[in-house]
C-alpha cells in the first residue's frame, strides 16, 4: 500500500498541534512544533521529487467515503496549481518556528499549537478535492488566526481580530451560497449528490439559466477576492497584518487560499459564464486598481509594518490581474507571484518584527542607520526589498514581468495602469529602506544587537530561496505552466 502522503501532511500538523498543547513549557512546545514541521517538509519534498510536472492531472489521490447520502467524500489530490503552494507552506513554517525560537515574549505552547493548526488547515485547503472538505478547511484557517491575533497581537488586536473574522467569514458564507447552488443544480442534473470539485465544475456548463451561472460565479469570486484580498475588500488586511504578532503576519502571508480558489474554481468556470467578458474586465480592473491603490497607500505609511501590509495588497493585485490575462503565461505568472510573494513577505514581516523588537518602534521616521548596527539584518532585508520591488534575478521580477507582459495581450489598458504603479513601488521600497537602514543612526536606541543566529539562519535560507527561484524558476514554474495551459485550453474550446 502506498503511503497516504497528503493525509499525513494535513493531519500531522493537527495531531502535533494537540500534542503541543499537552507540553509543559515553551521549550518542549517549540521542539514538538519544529519536529512536526520538519516531518511535513520532508514528506512534501519527497512528494515533490516524485511529482510529475508534465501532467495537469491530479496526483497522489486519496479517497474515502464520508457522508455518502450527501455525496461528501474525503478526497485529496495535488496538481501543479497546489503543489507550489503546499511547498511554500512546508518550507516556510519550519523556518518560522526557528525564527521564533528565542523570542522571549510569552510564546507559550498555545502559540505553537495555533501555528501548526493553521498550517494543517491551509494545506488542507490546497489538497482537498471535495468542496465540502475544501470549505471545512477554508473556515478552519480562520479560527487559529483569529486567536493568534487576539492573544498575541498589538494594541488594537481585538478590533483587528474581529474585523478580520467577520470580513472573511461573510466572504466565505457568500462563497458557501455559491457552492450550494452549484451542488444542488448538479444534483438535479445528474440525479446523484456529489461534492467533488471537478465534478461540480464540469456540471456548471449545463446549468440552463444564464443568470444563475453568473450569480454562482460571482458568489464564488467574491469569497476568493475577500481572502486575496483585492480592492475594494481589502480593508481587513492592514489591521490584521499589522496587529498580528510577527509569526501571525507570516502565517497570513502564507494564507494563499484566495488566489488558489481563483485558479482552482473561478478560471475553469469562467468560459461558461454568460457575461464572461464583463467578469474578466472586473477581475482585471480590480487587479490593476489593487496594484496601483495599494502602492499609493504604501507610499503614505509612516509605520514600516503597515507599509509592508499595503505593499502586500499591491502585490496580490498581480495575482488577480494575471488570472484575468487568460494566457497560459500570464496565469502561470500569477501563480508564481503567489509563491514568490509568500517567500518575500515572510522575510519582510520578519524584518519588521526584528526591528520593532530591537528599537521599540516601527515608525520609519524614527529609524535610521540600522545597517551599521545590524548588518546581517540589513543584507537580508535589502534582498527582500529588492525582490519585492521587482529587481531582475529575484522571484518578484519573474512573476511581475510575466503577468504584465502576457496580460498585455488581452488587457492592455489595465496593464498600463498597473505599470504606473511600478514606479511608485520602487519609490516606497527604496525610500523606506533608505530611511530605516541608512542615514543617521538615531542615538536614543543605544547599542543594538544584530539578529540572533536562529533568526539569521531562517531568514537567510528563505532569502537564498528567493535568489534561487529568481535565477531558476523552472522547478515550480514548469508545473504551473502545465496547469495553466490546461486552464487556458478550456477557453480555447469555447472559442474565446
Amino acid at each position: 500500500m502506498e503511503i497516504p502522503i497528503l493525509s499525513l501532511i494535513v493531519l500531522i500538523p493537527f495531531l502535533f498541534s494537540v500534542l503541543t498543547l499537552l507540553t509543559k513549557n515553551k521549550e518542549q512546545a517549540r521542539a514538538v512544533a519544529l519536529l512536526s514541521s520538519v516531518v511535513v517538509l520532508t514528506l512534501t519534498v519527497y512528494m515533490y521529487l516524485n511529482f510529475d510536472s508534465n501532467t495537469a492531472q491530479m496526483q497522489f489521490q486519496e479517497f474515502a467515503q464520508w457522508v455518502p447520502s450527501l455525496g461528501i467524500n474525503y478526497q485529496l489530490g495535488i496538481d501543479g496549481i497546489s503543489m507550489p503552494l503546499v511547498l511554500l507552506n512546508a518550507i516556510v513554517i519550519p523556518f518560522l518556528i526557528l525564527f521564533t525560537w528565542n523570542d522571549e515574549k510569552n510564546h507559550s505552547n498555545r502559540f505553537y499549537a495555533l501555528l501548526l493548526a493553521t498550517q494543517g488547515a491551509v494545506i488542507g485547503v490546497f489538497v482537498s478535492l471535495d468542496f465540502f472538505l475544501f470549505y471545512v478547511f477554508w473556515e478552519l484557517t480562520l479560527v487559529p488566526l483569529f486567536f493568534m491575533v487576539s492573544i498575541w497581537g498589538g494594541p488594537a488586536k481585538h478590533k483587528a481580530a474581529i474585523k478580520f473574522f467577520i470580513y472573511t467569514h461573510v466572504g466565505s458564507l457568500v462563497m458557501l451560497l455559491g457552492i450550494f447552488a452549484l451542488y444542488f443544480t448538479a444534483w438535479k442534473q445528474t440525479g446523484t449528490p456529489n461534492m467533488n470539485i471537478e465534478h461540480l465544475l464540469s456540471q456548471f456548463q449545463f446549468i440552463s439559466d444564464g443568470l444563475s451561472r453568473n450569480l454562482i460565479f460571482l458568489a464564488l469570486l467574491f469569497g476568493f477576492l475577500v481572502k486575496i484580498p483585492s480592492f475594494p475588500f481589502h480593508s481587513w488586511l492592514p489591521d490584521a497584518y499589522v496587529e498580528a504578532p510577527t509569526a501571525g503576519s507570516v502565517l497570513f502571508v502564507l494564507l494563499k487560499i484566495g488566489g488558489y480558489g481563483l485558479f482552482r474554481v473561478s478560471l475553469p468556470l469562467l468560459p461558461f459564464t454568460p457575461s464572461m467578458d464583463l467578469m474578466v474586465t472586473v477581475m482585471a480592473a480590480l487587479g490593476s486598481v489593487s496594484i496601483l491603490y495599494g502602492a499609493f497607500l504604501a507610499l503614505a505609511q509612516r509605520d514600516l509594518k503597515r507599509m509592508v501590509a499595503y505593499s502586500s495588497i499591491s502585490h496580490m493585485g498581480y495575482v488577480t490581474l494575471g488570472a484575468a490575462g487568460l494566457v497560459s503565461l500570464s496565469v502561470s505568472g500569477a501563480m508564481f507571484q503567489q509563491f514568490s510573494h509568500g517567500l518575500i513577505m515572510s522575510i519582510m514581516f520578519m524584518s519588521c518584527g526584528v526591528i520593532n523588537r530591537a528599537t521599540g518602534t516601527r515608525i520609519i521616521n524614527d529609524l535610521g542607520g540600522l545597517a551599521g548596527k545590524m548588518p546581517k539584518l540589513a543584507v537580508i532585508m535589502m534582498l527582500a526589498f529588492m525582490a519585492s520591488l521587482g529587481l531582475p534575478g529575484l522571484t518578484g521580477f519573474i512573476a511581475e514581468f510575466m503577468v504584465l507582459t502576457f496580460t498585455y495581450i488581452n488587457q492592455p489598458t489595465y496593464v498600463i495602469i498597473a505599470i504606473l504603479a511600478v514606479i511608485i513601488t520602487a519609490a516606497y521600497h527604496l525610500w523606506a529602506m533608505q530611511r530605516t537602514m541608512f542615514g543617521v543612526y538615531n542615538q536614543k536606541f543605544g547599542v543594538l544587537k544584530d539578529i540572533s543566529a536562529s533568526q539569521t539562519f531562517s531568514m537567510a535560507i528563505i532569502a537564498l530561496l528567493i535568489l534561487y527561484f529568481g535565477l531558476n524558476p523552472s522547478p515550480v514554474l514548469n508545473m504551473m505552466i502545465t496547469n495553466s495551459e490546461k486552464l487556458v485550453s478550456l477557453l480555447a474550446v469555447t472559442g474565446v
Binding site: 450527501l70 486567536f147 487576539s150 467569514h169 461573510v170
Partner: protein
C-alpha cells in the same frame, strides 16, 4: 389485549418518576442524593429501550399513538436532553429537600414530550403537551425564594395557559369542520376547511398556540425572562427539550394534518422565520447576561428551524430534524456550562446580583478549563463553525433552501449566521482573553460529566454525520 412493548420506554419513565417521588417521602435530605442517581438511571434505561426498539414501528390505542422513525428520533432528542439535565442536576439539587419533586417533574415533563412525539391525534397531542408544560411551569419556579425564578415561572405559566387555550380553540375548529381529531383523519377530511375562513382561523390559532412554545417572534416575549430566571438546568430543559416538543407538534399538525392548507401557512411561516432569526440575533448582540443571550440565540435558532416549513422538502425537514437533535446537545450543553459557572459564582459570593453576567466568565479558561473548553465547543457549534453538529445541521438546512430556489431566504439565514458569530465569539473572548484574579476552581463533577457527554455528541454529529443524517432523512420520510 394491547401489546405494550412499544410503550416500554414511557412506562419505564413513569415508573421511575413515581418511585422517585414516593421514596423521597421517607428519606431525609442528605440521603436524597440517591434519588438523582436513580432518576438518571431510569432515563438512561428508557433511552436504551428506545434505541434497541428503533426498528419496531406501529400504532397503539386505536391509532392515537404512532411509533415511527420521526417519533423515535424526537424521543431520543428528549431523552438525551433529559439525561444531560438530570446528570447536571445531581449537583444542583444537592442538599435540597425537594429533590424528589424536581426529578419527578423532570421525568413527567419528559414523558409528556415523548407522548407528543408519538401523538397521532389532536387530543392526545394536547394532553401530552399540557403534561409536559405543567411540569415545566413548576420546574421554572423551583427556586421558590428567588423572585426571578418566580417571575419566570409566572410569566411562563400565564403565556403557556393562553397559548394552550388558543391551541385548544384551534383544535375545536378543526374538529368541528372535519369531524375527527385524528391527525391523518383531518388531512383526509380537509376539504371543508379549504378556502373557508374557518380554515384560516384554525391555522392562525394553531400557529399562535404552537408559536408560543417554539418562541417565534412575536410570541417570544416570555422566553428571555423565563430562561434567565429559571434555574439554569431547567432553562436547559426548556430550550433544548420543550422547544423541540413544540416543533414536533407543529410538524405533525401542519405537515400532516393541515398540509392541504399549505398555501395559507407557508407565507406566515416564511415571515415568522425571517423575523424570528433576525430579531433573535440582533437582540442577542447586546446582552450581558449569558443566559439571556442564550435565550435570544435560542429564539434565533428556532427561526432557522422554522425555515423548513417554508421549504417543505425532504432535505429541509431532514435538516430541521437534525438541527433539533444538534440544538438539543448544543443548547443543553451551553446552559449546563452556564449553570456550572453560576454554581461557582454563588459558592464564592452568596448574594451575587446577576451570577450569569458575562464578567463572571472572565478568565474562565484558566479557572475552569474543562467548562471553558466545552462552552467554547457549544458556542462554536451554535455559531456553525465546521466539524461541529451546528455546522452540519445548518449545512443541510440552508442548502435545502437553495435547492428549493429560495435564495433570498438562504441569504438572510446566512447573514444571520454571520451576525450570531459576533456574540458567541464575545463569550469565548471573555473566557480566554480577559484575565481575572480568581483562582482555579475544582469543577463540580456532575456538571462536567454532562458537559463532556454533550460535547462529545456535538463533535460526533459534526465529524461522523452519515448515520445521523440517514436517521434524520428516515424521520423526514414520515412527514413527506
Amino acid at each position: 389485549m394491547v401489546d405494550l412493548t412499544l410503550l416500554t420506554p414511557e412506562l419505564t419513565l413513569v415508573g421511575t418518576g413515581l418511585v422517585v417521588l414516593s421514596i423521597g417521602l421517607f428519606l431525609n435530605t442528605n440521603a436524597k442524593k440517591i434519588l438523582s442517581y436513580l432518576a438518571s438511571l431510569g432515563i438512561l434505561a428508557s433511552l436504551v429501550l428506545v434505541l434497541t426498539n428503533l426498528g419496531n414501528g406501529g400504532m397503539l390505542f386505536n391509532e392515537t399513538l404512532s411509533f415511527d422513525a420521526l417519533s423515535q428520533f424526537f424521543k431520543i432528542v428528549f431523552l438525551s436532553v433529559a439525561l444531560l439535565v438530570s446528570i447536571a442536576s445531581i449537583k444542583y439539587t444537592e442538599g435540597n429537600s425537594h429533590t424528589e419533586e424536581f426529578y419527578s417533574l423532570l421525568i413527567f415533563a419528559t414523558v409528556g414530550m415523548m407522548f407528543v412525539a408519538s401523538a397521532n391525534d389532536l387530543i392526545v397531542l394536547f394532553v401530552a403537551f399540557e403534561l409536559a408544560s405543567l411540569a415545566t411551569y413548576a420546574l421554572a419556579g423551583f427556586e421558590k425564594k428567588n423572585p426571578l425564578s418566580l417571575e419566570a415561572s409566572m410569566k411562563y405559566f400565564m403565556i403557556g395557559a393562553l397559548s394552550a387555550a388558543l391551541m385548544l380553540f384551534g383544535i375545536s375548529f378543526i374538529y368541528g369542520a372535519t369531524g375527527t381529531t385524528s391527525i391523518p383523519g383531518v388531512a383526509e377530511n380537509i376539504n371543508i376547511l379549504l378556502g373557508s375562513p374557518i380554515g384560516l382561523l384554525s391555522v392562525v390559532l394553531m400557529i399562535a398556540g404552537l408559536g408560543f412554545k417554539i418562541a417565534l417572534v412575536p410570541f417570544h416575549m416570555w422566553a428571555p425572562d423565563t430562561y434567565q430566571g429559571s434555574p439554569s438546568v431547567v432553562s436547559s430543559l426548556l430550550a433544548a427539550g420543550s422547544k423541540k416538543m413544540g416543533f414536533v407538534a407543529a410538524f405533525k399538525v401542519f405537515m400532516v394534518g393541515l398540509i392541504a392548507l399549505q398555501a395559507e401557512w407557508t407565507t406566515a411561516f416564511a415571515l415568522l422565520a425571517v423575523i424570528t432569526m433576525t430579531l433573535g440575533n440582533i437582540v442577542a448582540l447586546s446582552q450581558n447576561s449569558v443566559k439571556r443571550m442564550l435565550a435570544y440565540s435560542s429564539v434565533a435558532q428556532a427561526g432557522y428551524i422554522t425555515m423548513s416549513f417554508v421549504v417543505m422538502s425532504k432535505t429541509a425537514l431532514a435538516g430541521a430534524i437534525l438541527y433539533a437533535l444538534s440544538h438539543g446537545f448544543m443548547k443543553a450543553g451551553a446552559f449546563i456550562a452556564t449553570a456550572a459557572v453560576i454554581y461557582m459564582v454563588l459558592s464564592e459570593k452568596k448574594d451575587s446580583e446577576m451570577p450569569d453576567h458575562i464578567d463572571n466568565f472572565r478568565g474562565l479558561g484558566k479557572r475552569m478549563p474543562i467548562t471553558a473548553l466545552c462552552m467554547t465547543i457549544f458556542l462554536f457549534a451554535l455559531a456553525g463553525i465546521p466539524l461541529t453538529a451546528g455546522y452540519m445541521s445548518k449545512f443541510v438546512l440552508f442548502a435545502s433552501t437553495i435547492e428549493a430556489g429560495l435564495v433570498w431566504l438562504a441569504v438572510i439565514a446566512i447573514l444571520n449566521s454571520a451576525i450570531s458569530l459576533f456574540y458567541y465569539a464575545r463569550v469565548v473572548k471573555y473566557m480566554y482573553f480577559l484575565s481575572s484574579e480568581g483562582e482555579k476552581i475544582a469543577e463540580p463533577v456532575p456538571y462536567t460529566v454532562a458537559m463532556i457527554i454533550a460535547a462529545i455528541f456535538v463533535l460526533a454529529i459534526g465529524f461522523w454525520s452519515e448515520p445521523f443524517i440517514y436517521w434524520a432523512m428516515e424521520a423526514a420520510k414520515v412527514l413527506i
